[in-house]
Structure formats: structure tokens, C-alpha cells
């Protein structure tokens, strides 16, 4: 009974407290009433007149400089037109006004607005960019009449030597939705980000951190005071190993052709020039390419976006004889003097006839002559002795069949065929006759011009496989991985180097077109067949796409190699004619005329 009484007491108190809270809720409702209804108009006005606007402070993107600090890429100002719809009295009038200046129809602008449907009215929308100074002036003059329009200064990339450096530097493009969705993404829709090559790979380094000004503006968009400021951090510069002058020389040499030139320092792998032709103008990309311009680039028959130095692979042709020679010497299968072959214009192996390029034959040749005259017969016999798996082993030692590790993306590995590959990829055993083709760099073997450059660097520097690189800032690529030592006899390298010197500098050498005064160039020509020998007729009479690829791989000076130059001309014909002369001009540009300010490649 007593407990019952207590219970009623408790219930009464709970009831009282509940009632109290309801009174408090009424009181709070009254508070909101007084602020929202009684004084609502006053606060609405405050909200209107007391607006924060976020203004992005752009962080200038880092410059890209060549090895002598000459700018390859800069930033140039560009003006955009923003529209704050909440400040427009009559949107139709505003659009008519703007479209007249911009030379567009109001419908065009309507479309842009429609694509920002979800954006709050007070967030400015970008209507146009790249305004001309005349357009800029008109908007500035009419600012009092049309406070809803605002001019924003931005920076666009200016590629100074656009076509000449496009494949190395890359370009910017609008950020993708996938990039935006990534957690911690610093981007906002419409941002331009590095897409290809160095602009893409070093995006984080080049890109600064955008800052922000938060300002208080009144209802007419006039700035009242600064409220908050987050400073922008500029992007950092990228210093390349590239030598602009050499790069330009290479680009000019390839003008109108399809091909690639790479020049690197064989001592550390610094790339001094890298050109792929045909090229494109990255400035167009920086200005948000129009559809038809895109099509033009994409539909170009020679695919200008491809970097032929490392994204395409080709049969090496006779350049491969360098690998063959060193392999034969290392295995002790050939003696440089006493091992000879008699070339009568072809060899007959496995009941098949394999031709030498010189139908009349080279007569009796030893290793030096075989390299100098690029005799196929000598290497047919050596190939038969080595066998495909040994050939593949030595090719891989020289870095063929895998990426060189250069700081550019999209590098192709190429192909070093062997008997295992044949079983796995083709489902058929290796056919011994193919070994004879591979021995002269034909058949299924594929290499990129960059791989050839690394190979030549290794031959020239006594067997160190360097990692080619384009960026000097050592922090960025980290310590270069240990260069791999090939562990081949010094003496064998000397023999081959001497033979390669004779290719260029002795009468009868295939590379005499590369010979330069006062400079000991060593090199090897290569001619990669596109169609099989049986069907071939005189190269000049072939359709362009069936013509041979021309190679010339070289280094100089022989006594102390400072520069490796590899020239590749797609469907250029014979390496001796189409490629070797270009290499000579590269050396001339590099060594002659270089005076006090460029004492050596390592600068």
C-alpha cells in the first residue's frame, strides 16, 4: 500500500517534469518565431548583404626547364568569365549582353547554365574562358551595369617549343570523374591536370596547392572585407636532362618524316634529346581541345600522340649484330681473326636460302668486316652456332625485352623470342630456321629505339646498363637503381667498338654517311624488313607502308663516349641512307659549335 503511494508520487513528479519540458519547447519555438518570423526580414537582409565568397587563389604550376634552365613550359595568364546568377536582375538580359560580346548565341550560354543545374545560385559559374583583351575590357567597362559578371584571371600552360617537346612533356587535360572521386583528391571539377608524359607523371610535384580567399561581399558583389586567406603554394619546377638545342635539332631533322631520335649520355643515362615524329601541339590541349581538333589528332594516319622512342617496337635489323658479336665472343664460338665466313650473297641452312643484303656477296669476311659491311652470312652461321636460347639470354642481358625504367609512362617491353616463348605464345615449337632470321635482327624480335640507345650506351661505356632518365631533380626519381654490369670481357667490347668505328670511318662501311670531321663516331646501321625477302623488290618501288625501317645506332667519340644517338625512320628505307646522315647532324650540333657554356654533356 505504501509502495503504491510512492509510485503515485513518482508518476506525479514525472508528469510535472514532462509538462515542464513541453513548456520549454514552446519557449524555444517562441525563440525561433522571434528570430525567423518577427525579425526574419532583418536577418534575411543580413544574410544577403553579408555574404562570403570563396575566391580561389591559383597556385602557379611549376615550370619545366631544360638542363641549362631554359624554359620549355611556362604559364601565361588567361581570363575567364564568371556569372553569379543571384546578382542578375534579369537573367535573359544578362545572357543576351554576354553572348553579344562573346560572339555566341544566348542558347549556347543557356546550355552551359543547364549543365550546372545543381549548383546553388550564388556560386559563380564559368561561362567562357580565354577572353580576348577587347572582350575583357567590355565586361570591365559595363561592370556597374552588370555586376553579375566577374572576370577571373587564370593561368594556362604555354608550351614554348610545342611540337618539338610534346612527347616528353605531355599536356594537361580536364580532371576525370574517377580522379575527382578518389579520397583526398585536391581537384575540383574543371581543373586541368597533367595527363601524359612528364606533366602527368610529375603532376604532384608540378601542381601547387591552391589557396583561397574568403571575402565578404555585399548584395551587389562588391568586396567589403577579407575574411580569411589560405595562401597558395606554387608548384615546383622540374629541371630536365634535355638539351633544348639538341632537342630542336632532332625535331628539325625528323620534320616531315615518321620516326624517332634519341640522344643520351652513356655515362649516367641522362636523356639529352628525345623526339618522335609526327608530333602535336600540346597548347591545343591546354585550352580544352574542341571535338574536331581531337578527331584530327586521333585520326591522323601516323598517330602523332604515340612516342615512337618507347611506345612502339620494331625489329632491330642489323643493329642486332652487335649483340650477336658480343655473344659469340663471350661464348668463345668465334675468334675475331680466324673465324671467317665466305659470303656469296646468300647462305643455305636447313635447306633454306637466306640472303645477304649484298646480292653479289662480300667474299671472305671475319668479324670486323662482317660488322663493317653488315654481312648477313657471317651472322647466319654464328646464329646457328649460338641457338635461339643463347641469343635470347644475351639480348636480355643488354636490356632488350624489358622496360628501361625511364621516367615516362607507357613504355613497351618489346619481345625477345626464345623456344619457351614460342611454345607459350604460339603453341608451336621454335623453328630453327627462325634463328637464322633473328641473328640478323629480323623475325619476331622487337625493340624500342630507347632500348637500342641503352644497348649502345652499354657497348660504349664498357658494359654498364644505365637507366635512362629525363628529370634531374634527384629527389624525384630517387636513387637510380644499381646499374647492371654486363660482365663481358673488356677486350671484346674494344673489338666491337673498333669494328663499329670502321662502319662509319672506313671505305666500304655501311655507316659512312654518318662520318664527321674531327670526331670519331662509331655506329651500326640497321634495316628492318617489313615484308619478307621473297616478295621484295627494290625498296624505292615499294609502297610506303611496305618499305623497310631505317636504323642507325651510334656513339661518339669512340675514345671517350659522351653521346649516344639512335635514329629510327619508319619506312625510311636503308639505315645507311635514311638514318645515318641524321645522326651525323646530331653529333655536329652537339660537339661543334658547343663552346664555353656547354663544356660537356654532364654540364
Amino acid at each position: 500500500m505504501k509502495i503504491r503511494h510512492h509510485r503515485e508520487e513518482l508518476v506525479r513528479r514525472v508528469g510535472g517534469l514532462t509538462a515542464l519540458t513541453q513548456a520549454a519547447i514552446l519557449l524555444i519555438a517562441g525563440g525561433y518565431w522571434s528570430v525567423q518570423i518577427a525579425e526574419g526580414a532583418y536577418y534575411r537582409e543580413l544574410a544577403e548583404n553579408n555574404r562570403l565568397r570563396k575566391l580561389t587563389i591559383e597556385a602557379p604550376r611549376g615550370l619545366i626547364l631544360d638542363r641549362f634552365d631554359r624554359p620549355l613550359v611556362e604559364n601565361a595568364p588567361s581570363y575567364s568569365l564568371l556569372l553569379d546568377r543571384s546578382l542578375a536582375h534579369d537573367l535573359a538580359v544578362s545572357l543576351a549582353f554576354a553572348s553579344e560580346i562573346l560572339g555566341l548565341t544566348p542558347e549556347d550560354l543557356d546550355k552551359i547554365l543547364a549543365s550546372h543545374k545543381g549548383t546553388p545560385r550564388f556560386h559563380p559559374i564559368r561561362l567562357a574562358q580565354d577572353l580576348s583583351l577587347a572582350q575583357l575590357a567590355r565586361f570591365e567597362v559595363e561592370h556597374l551595369e552588370h555586376p553579375e559578371f566577374e572576370i577571373q584571371t587564370e593561368h594556362v600552360r604555354l608550351y614554348r617549343h610545342a611540337h618539338q617537346t610534346a612527347h616528353v612533356i605531355g599536356y594537361l587535360g580536364e580532371v576525370t570523374n574517377a580522379d575527382l572521386a578518389r579520397p583526398g583528391s585536391p581537384y575540383v571539377p574543371g581543373d586541368l591536370v597533367g595527363k601524359k608524359a612528364l606533366e602527368g607523371l610529375y603532376e604532384i610535384h608540378l601542381r601547387g596547392e591552391t589557396g583561397e580567399r574568403v571575402v565578404v561581399v555585399d548584395s551587389r558583389g562588391q568586396l567589403i572585407e577579407e575574411f580569411d586567406r589560405l595562401h597558395a603554394n606554387s608548384g615546383r619546377d622540374l629541371r630536365l636532362t634535355l638539351d633544348l638545342e639538341l632537342q630542336q635539332t632532332a625535331a628539325e631533322l625528323l620534320a616531315g618524316q615518321v620516326g624517332a631520335i634519341i640522344a643520351l649520355d652513356p655515362r649516367q643515362g641522362e636523356v639529352l634529346a628525345m623526339v618522335s615524329a609526327p608530333s602535336f601541339d600540346p597548347n591545343n590541349f591546354a585550352r580544352r581541345l574542341r571535338q574536331e581538333e581531337w578527331r584530327e589528332v586521333l585520326d591522323h594516319p601516323h598517330h602523332p600522340l604515340q612516342n615512337r622512342v618507347l611506345q612502339n617496337t620494331y625489329p632491330p635489323g642489323s643493329i642486332f649484330k652487335i649483340v650477336m658479336a658480343l655473344a659469340g665472343l663471350d661464348r668463345g664460338l668465334i675468334d675475331p681473326e680466324n673465324t671467317t665466313a665466305y659470303c656469296r650473297g646468300y647462305s643455305t641452312i636447313y635447306n633454306n636460302r637466306y640472303r645477304c643484303w649484298q646480292a653479289a656477296g662480300h667474299g671472305t669476311v671475319n668479324l670486323r668486316t662482317a660488322l663493317k659491311k653488315s654481312c648477313n652470312v657471317y651472322f647466319h652461321q654464328l646464329g646457328q652456332k649460338l641457338g635461339i636460347d643463347q641469343i635470347a639470354n644475351y639480348s636480355r642481358k643488354f636490356g632488350l625485352g624489358r622496360k628501361t625504367g625511364i621516367d615516362l609512362s607507357g613504355e613497351k617491353t618489346g619481345l625477345v623470342p626464345d623456344s619457351t616463348w614460342s611454345l607459350e605464345a604460339r603453341g608451336a615449337p621454335w623453328y630453327p630456321g627462325e634463328t637464322i632470321s633473328v641473328a640478323t635482327g629480323q623475325g619476331p624480335i622487337l625493340v624500342s629505339p630507347l632500348q637500342v640507345a641503352v644497348l649502345m650506351a652499354a657497348v660504349s661505356n664498357g658494359g654498364r646498363l644505365v637507366q635512362p632518365h629525363l628529370v634531374q631533380n634527384p629527389r624525384l626519381h630517387g636513387p637510380l637503381p644499381d646499374e647492371r654490369q654486363l660482365h663481358l670481357e673488356e677486350e671484346h667490347f674494344a673489338l666491337v667498338k673498333e669494328a663499329l668505328w670502321s662502319v662509319v670511318n672506313e671505305v666500304g662501311g655501311t655507316g659512312v654517311a654518318a662520318a664527321a670531321n674531327d670526331l670519331n663516331i662509331a655506329g651500326k646501321t640497321g634495316t628492318a624488313q617489313v615484308i619478307t625477302q621473297e616478295r621484295r623488290i627494290d625498296n624505292e618501288n615499294l609502297a610506303h607502308e611496305n618499305r623497310d625501317h631505317a636504323w642507325f645506332a651510334s656513339f661518339a667519340p669512340v675514345e671517350d663516349p659522351r653521346l649516344v644517338v639512335v635514329v629510327f625512320v619508319e619506312h625510311g628505307g636503308a639505315g645507311s641512307k635514311a638514318a645515318a646522315p641524321l645522326a651525323r647532324k646530331m653529333y655536329e650540333a652537339f660537339f661543334q659549335g658547343r663552346s664555353s657554356h656547354r663544356p660537356s654533356a654532364s654540364g
Partner: protein, 381 residues
């Protein structure tokens, strides 16, 4: 009996029997659950809008917390509250050790060292400390079957409340620490205190407050209270928040500026707009109409939970609901009042609306416990 005449006879007896689970489920007062669900959904929508200018959208995470909270609610609902009360000392012990632990290894956020970081989620033990303290206080006071409490009993209740409160105050989380007062206050008022006790307590708290002001508070805490008393003196300091919040609320007028169209919230005027000032976002975008809707929902929660308390089976049930409801009311009323400038700004979030994992979870648990009391009012023990 007539009410169930149309029911299949095979289950009819289940419904007829007052102690059968089905019948009892039908008799539970679902008001608090309905209100909690509706408020959580409104909260999610508002958090999404408030996140517009924040580095990340808090909506997905909060949605997961609401889901987790629903599961937690169902779990505590299914265990008889008497068994939970029996375990109260253990919960209390665990939570005290966690509070000590967080002081040592906790993660600091916004000046308060009150978080455990567990991978992607952060846990704030002080939220669960309120529940554990409510349970232990209820257990202690339920045993006293008298119309009024003695001073000794009040002091014991004070110690139970005071220990976790001091620990949390040491974390420099004064807002959370203050939330323990309403638990004690609500329970004492319901259990019965005499006028002279109230008088003495008022005098003591005045002395305590004066001491705290001079020696216990940090400068920023003092400035917050001062700014409340005269908000226009320091427009960009602490008073700035009140002012911006009032502009946001006021500019909503009757029907608001439209979803995601609030200049105050979208343009980053509002501080802590997804947490403590969430209702300002709502008031700006949905106007007085929106405010009335949520006030009605809070009213529904409080009145129906109050009814659950009043028809509770035993003293323990009544007091459990009272203790939980007290915190809930205090959070709700204080936050709503603070946003519109009626009370000083402190870090007190709004139940079910504000973003916050531990807080959402704790409120769901409290709702589950309240429904639990109603579900078991016919159980014979």
C-alpha cells in the same frame, strides 16, 4: 477480447494473453521510435547539405551509424532491463577504466582529448559513460523505497555521477561533463528532495560556479560565456558564431531558402554546421516550418517516453526512463536554444540530427532501453 475476434484463432490466444510477446509488442508505446527514426532521416538529409563545403560528405558515414544504432536498439530492447540493471556496476566499472584509458592514449580533437581512434572510426567513451551512469544511478535509487531521499543518499548519487564527470572534465570536454548534471537532477527531482535541500544545493553550486569561473575555467571558456552575455562586442570572436547562427536561422523565415540553397551554411559562415549547429542549417533551408516539424518530433519523443515512465511497472523502470529522458531533454532543449541565441554556445550536439557516431549510437541505445521498460511492464517476476 472482442477487439481480437477477427484474428485467426490459432494466434488469437497469443494476443489475448497479456503476457504473450506479440500482445505485449502491440501494447508498446512506439512514439519514441517513430520520432527517433523520423529525426534520424531528417538528420541524414541535413548532414548531406551541410557537408557541401566540407572536405568530405558525412552523409554515408552517418547513415552507417544510424544503421548500427538501429541494430543496437534492437539488441538492448530484447534483454530485460532488470538484467541490464543487475549488470550496471560492471558497465560502470568498464566505462570508468575506458575514461582513464582515453586520458592516456586518447586522440585529441577540437581541444578535447576524448576519442579512441579505431581505424576509420573514432569512439567517444564519454557518450557511453552517460548510459552507464544512468543505469547505476537507477539501480541505486530504485532500491530506496521512500518518498524522499536523505542527504546521505543524495551524496552517494552525487559521487556516482561525479566520478565520470570529473574524468571527462579532465579530458577538457566540459560540454559532455555538464551533461551528467541533468541525469542526477532529473532522478533527484523524481525521487523526491526537500526544499531546504534544494536551497542548500543552489547555494553550494553558486559558490562552486564562482570558484570555477576564477580558477577552473580557461580563457576561451570564459570568453564564450562573456560573448553570450554581449554578443556584439566581439563580432569575429566567440560572439561571431552566435551571430552567424542567428543570421542563418532568421534568414530562413517561414519556409526557408530551399534545400542546399542556404547562403549561411553553404558559404561556410556557420561553424560546426554538421554537428552542433545542424539545426541552423535546417532552419535556414526549411524555415520556421522545418523547425516546427522537428520540435513536434522532439515533443512526441519526450511526451511518449514520459508516458512510458508514468506507466512503468516498477520504480526501477520509471527511474531508468527518467534518467535517460533527462539527458535527452537537456541535449535537445539546450542545443535548440543555443543555436537561436537563448543560451551560451557549448559543444552540445542535437540528438538524432547532429553528425557523430558515438552520440548516435548512445541515443539509439537509450531509445531501446526506454522501449524495453514499456515492453516489460506486464512481466511478472
Amino acid at each position: 477480447m472482442r477487439r481480437f475476434s477477427k484474428v485467426d484463432p490459432r494466434i488469437g490466444h497469443l494476443l489475448a494473453d497479456e503476457s504473450s510477446p506479440l500482445r505485449r509488442l502491440g501494447n508498446v508505446h512506439w512514439g519514441p521510435l517513430v520520432a527517433a527514426l523520423a529525426l534520424s532521416l531528417i538528420g541524414l538529409v541535413t548532414i548531406h547539405s551541410a557537408s557541401a563545403e566540407l572536405p568530405i560528405d558525412h552523409f554515408p558515414k552517418q547513415a552507417l551509424w544510424v544503421l548500427a544504432g538501429s541494430v543496437a536498439l534492437a539488441v538492448v530492447f530484447s534483454i530485460d532491463y532488470h538484467r541490464l540493471l543487475a549488470l550496471a556496476p560492471i558497465f560502470y566499472g568498464i566505462i570508468l577504466s575506458l575514461l582513464v584509458l582515453v586520458l592516456i592514449v586518447g586522440h585529441s580533437s577540437g581541444g578535447a582529448k576524448s576519442w579512441f581512434l579505431l581505424g576509420p572510426i573514432s569512439i567517444q567513451p564519454s557518450e557511453f559513460a552517460k548510459l552507464a551512469t544512468a543505469l547505476l544511478l537507477t539501480r541505486f535509487l530504485a532500491g530506496i523505497k521512500k518518498p524522499f531521499l536523505t542527504v546521505r543518499e543524495i551524496a552517494t548519487a552525487g559521487v556516482i555521477t561525479g566520478v565520470p564527470m570529473v574524468l571527462i572534465a579532465l579530458e577538457r570536454d566540459l560540454g559532455s561533463a555538464a551533461m551528467f548534471c541533468p541525469i542526477l537532477l532529473g532522478l533527484l527531482l523524481v525521487c523526491g528532495v526537500r526544499w531546504r535541500q534544494i536551497f542548500v544545493a543552489a547555494l553550494m553550486s553558486l559558490v562552486l560556479a564562482a570558484g570555477l569561473w576564477n580558477f577552473g575555467l580557461r580563457q576561451y571558456q570564459r570568453s564564450r560565456i562573456m560573448s553570450f552575455l554581449s554578443p556584439d562586442e566581439d563580432p569575429l570572436g566567440a560572439g561571431y558564431q552566435v551571430r552567424q547562427s542567428k543570421i542563418a536561422v532568421g534568414s530562413g523565415q517561414w519556409l526557408g531558402r530551399g534545400y542546399k540553397q542556404g547562403t549561411q551554411s553553404q558559404l561556410r559562415f556557420l561553424p560546426a554546421r554538421h554537428t552542433d549547429f545542424i539545426v541552423a542549417v535546417l532552419a535556414e533551408e526549411w524555415g520556421f516550418a522545418g523547425v516546427l516539424v522537428i520540435l513536434s518530433l522532439y515533443s512526441l519523443f519526450i511526451v511518449s517516453a514520459g508516458n512510458i515512465a508514468m506507466r512503468g511497472r516498477d520504480r526501477a523502470g520509471i527511474l531508468l526512463v527518467v534518467s535517460l529522458l533527462s539527458v535527452f531533454c537537456f541535449h535537445t532543449l539546450y542545443n535548440m536554444a543555443m543555436v537561436v541565441g537563448l543560451l551560451p554556445i557549448t559543444g552540445i550536439p542535437l540528438p538524432f540530427l547532429s553528425y557523430g557516431g558515438s552520440f548516435t549510437l548512445a541515443n539509439c541505445l537509450a531509445t531501446g532501453l526506454i522501449l524495453n521498460v514499456d515492453f516489460r511492464r506486464y512481466v511478472n517476476r
